[in-house]
């Protein structure tokens, strides 16, 4: 029988990594960066999806890294990888060529249609902060079949209007992606420290799907800068299993991306 952890036995980042991991199906091609998504993908490979192939945009393909990488170009990702090629291969031939099932991305700002900003905070002409930019983020969200967004849930990040639209969610609603010529399926899930959100199939607006243990729907609404769709019956996020937690801690033993619960 599967043994689930008690709510006081894990921290929020661990729960978020587990949520991300569960979005990966066995045999899928997964496009990820470093940080929490990398931990999530490595966990999936050690549990329900051993046949998932992890691709990093810098060129490492089907990585089986044993040490935690700090950069997507980190030599650590070369350990027992099946290929070490380059960006034209990963972002062009593989991703735009239609071979990537699910991509993981982060966001500095996201709006109700899942559009993402990773470029500027403040006005374009005179920004207060210049963020890292698209990198491969725009390419991934444009062309992967599904997208999982992992980010922290704050009012200033879940905004009505983005300061800059770096990567396309559902743009301004149903049919908009198709109209501008985008190929990929768009965002399918947003995982935050408060819960998980999917997108209403009819309006393409973000909809609360589960709340994490101890979090209320009201708290999620209060931390969102746009009108989140909130169904009446709100399930709690499935708890991590004890096995998942043990594996997570062995993947990141020094707590580089998931500091230990104190």
């Amino acid at each position: 029988m599967v043994k689930y952890a008690k709510p006081d036995e894990f921290n929020t980042l661990e729960l978020m990594a587990v949520c991300g991991s569960r979005q990966i199906k066995n045999g899928e091609v997964v496009f990820i960066g470093t940080g929490l998504p990398m931990i999530a993908a490595l966990l999936a490979k050690r549990t329900h999806a051993p046949g998932a192939r992890i691709v990093f945009e810098a060129g490492f393909i089907d990585s089986n890294a044993k040490d935690i990488a700090l950069s997507i170009a980190d030599s650590r990702l070369g350990w027992r990888a099946s290929g070490a090629i380059g960006l034209l291969e990963t972002l062009g031939l593989m991703l735009q060529g239609g071979h990537v099932d699910v991509g993981f991305v982060g966001a500095a700002q996201i709006d109700e249609y899942g559009n993402i900003n990773t470029t500027y905070i403040g006005p374009f002409e005179k920004p207060t902060v210049r963020l890292p930019g698209s990198g491969g983020g725009n390419d991934i969200i444009s062309s992967a079949k599904r997208i999982v967004v992992i980010m922290t849930h704050e009012k200033r990040k879940m905004v009505k209007k983005l300061d800059y639209l770096t990567s396309p969610g559902f743009l301004d609603g149903p049919g908009a992606r198709e109209k501008v010529g985008l190929m990929g399926g768009g965002p399918s899930l947003v995982v935050t420290n408060l819960g998980q959100m999917d997108f209403d199939p009819k309006t393409k607006r973000m909809r609360l799907a589960t709340v994490h243990p101890g979090v209320t729907s009201q708290q999620v609404v209060e931390n969102s800068g746009f009108d989140l769709i909130v169904p009446k019956d709100m399930p709690t996020t499935d708890l991590p299993t004890c096995e998942e937690l043990d594996l997570l801690r062995s993947i990141d033993p020094n707590g580089i991306y998931i500091p230990r619960k104190t």
Binding site: L70, R130, P132, G133, G136, N138, D139, R177
Partner: protein, 306 residues
């Protein structure tokens, strides 16, 4: 049967100082390496020492190397997709220079930049792709008159984005092994260096090791960039330190973190620049300053490539 006459082996080797001297102020550069992997760090240092100004840099994603070039006001414009010091935070000097208005950035996606290099290398004026559609990367621009255009495909009617090809004055890359004729071997990921190197009007390749021409010719399938493209070769061991070179050495995160913390202020950056770049005369002196013992700690430990 008549035997082939052995062609004399051309020697393209020059010093780092000589190579950087070839780059006039205001030049446009493709900047090689990707993320923490194989950045031309020693070239960046020498550009700072020789007080180059007004450069435009084209790259996909670069980190501490271009932050140094920004701090020292060597570069005034970037066309790129990404910069940060991954695992640590935003690049401190670029942040400051953007706020001051001394640096302008035209941003594209990574695939868009790769396609721009591929277009330049192929000798065609633009390339189509399926990214950037519906975004502010298409709608907004900083300094380019033409940044990207949408087009209906004349064959299928499908919408594509066209991005302008790039033919920079110089392509600067750092590789693991090169022979004196300029045949290049790269271990591990290639990032966008395959296309970027071929896009440059002149190509300067820094290398960890100079290998014998016979070594290259004993394994021609390993040549990533044939010497036909390469103008100059610069022998430069530890040329990416404190970042990493696959199969050769790991990053020195303690150094990188110190850099990051120190560069949060202009004074801190000036001190770093003085301590590690301008007060030394050459890359070798920089390495001496770091110390052989410390460098050896980061040497790759086989069978791991780091």
């Amino acid at each position: 049967m008549k035997t082939l006459v052995e062609a004399p082996i051309e020697d393209k080797r020059i010093t780092l100082k000589e190579a950087v001297k070839l780059v006039p102020d205001g030049s446009h550069l493709f900047w090689g390496g990707f993320g923490f992997q194989r950045p031309p760090m020693a070239f960046a240092h020498e550009l700072v020492r020789q007080k180059k100004r007004g450069l435009t840099i084209y790259t996909c994603g670069s980190e501490m190397d271009i932050d140094i070039l920004s701090g020292a006001k060597v570069v005034s414009r970037y066309e790129l997709a990404f910069y940060a010091i991954e695992g640590i935070g935003l690049v401190p000097n670029i942040q400051r220079r953007v706020r001051e208005g001394s640096i302008e950035i035209e941003d594209y996606s990574n695939l868009a930049m790769v396609m721009r290099f591929l277009g330049g290398a192929l000798g065609v004026p633009f390339m189509p792709l399926k990214s950037m559609l519906g975004t502010d990367m298409l709608a907004k621009k900083k300094f380019r008159a033409h940044k990207a255009e949408i087009m209906d495909c004349p064959f299928t009617g499908e919408k594509v984005v066209l991005v302008p090809s790039v033919r920079p004055d110089f392509s600067i890359i750092h590789a693991q092994r090169v022979d004196q004729e300029g045949n290049v071997q790269i271990d591990g990921i290639k990032g966008e260096d395959v296309e970027g190197a071929r896009a440059g009007k002149k190509v300067i390749v820094m290398t960890e090791e100079i290998v014998d021409a016979e070594f290259i010719r004993s394994q021609p399938d390993q040549t990533i960039i044939p010497n036909i493209y390469v103008t100059h070769v610069v022998e430069c061991p530890w040329g990416s330190h404190p970042m990493m070179v696959y199969n050769y050495y790991d990053y020195d995160m303690e150094h990188v973190r110190t850099y990051y913390d120190q560069c949060k202020t202009e004074e801190g950056w000036q001190k770093y620049c003085q301590d590690y770049i301008t007060s030394v005369n050459s890359h070798n002196e920089f390495l001496q300053k770091i110390g052989m013992e410390r460098l050896m700690k980061h040497k790759a430990k086989k069978p791991f490539p780091y």
